[in-house]
Amino acid sequence: DQQVKQNSPSLSVQEGRISILNCDYTNSMFDYFLWYKKYPAEGPTFLISISSIKDKNEDGRFTVFLNKSAKHLSLHIVPSQPGDSAVYFCAASESGTSYDKVIFGPGTSLSVIP
């Protein structure tokens, strides 16, 4: 039972344009959401997070939007750069504390074309 879904396995975007990666979840108890980026042969690296009390969080070129009623979040990257080409994982947990497991989505592979 997939609690965190990323329905687009891959996405291709031109350099300089906006990349929008989507994530849906089914567990209404999730309160804390994270995005990770992963390059081949490396571990995931943390990108940005958002708690359910917010609907938007911004960090430089990266913005995460949360729509709790729709159980949907998205990651916007603008402008997209070739170095952004990686697999992006959406993740969620009920409290964000060490006592709750983090559930990861299957990932979306982003290719930014120069």
Partner: protein, 116 residues
């Protein structure tokens, strides 16, 4: 300086063998984790330790046993390896433990285990 390191990076072994994967973090974090990334690329939590105490123990066969000699190390022992154990195993750590928001996890580079 490597923040979270794992050894070995690649491990090829035969069914029935016992093997260990080591993980060390030099970030001073209290909490450490083991994840398994299967062939479908899902990252699934296996175990987490906070200050050497087991916190999360997912539905993992008893053949998998984590051991935390100190809060900087979390090793994974696997007995009687099976074909289905082939996967990439990631170690991770996070800066805040207990009931505080743990924010992000810092992952190691992964260990690719192949059981033949």
């Amino acid at each position: 300086d490597t923040a979270v390191s794992q050894t070995p990076k690649y491990l090829v072994t035969q069914m029935g063998n016992d093997k260990s994967i080591k993980c060390e973090q030099n970030l001073g974090h209290d909490t450490m984790y083991w994840y398994k990334q299967d062939s479908k690329k899902f990252l699934k939590i296996m175990f987490s330790y906070n200050n050497k105490e087991l916190i999360i123990n997912e539905t993992v066969p008893n053949r998998f046993s984590p051991k935390s000699p100190d809060k900087a190390h979390l090793n994974l022992h696997i007995n009687s390896l099976e074909l289905g154990d082939s996967a990439v195993y990631f170690c991770a750590s996070s800066p805040i433990g207990g009931t505080d928001i743990s924010y992000e996890q810092y992952f190691g580079p992964g260990t690719r285990l192949t059981v033949t």
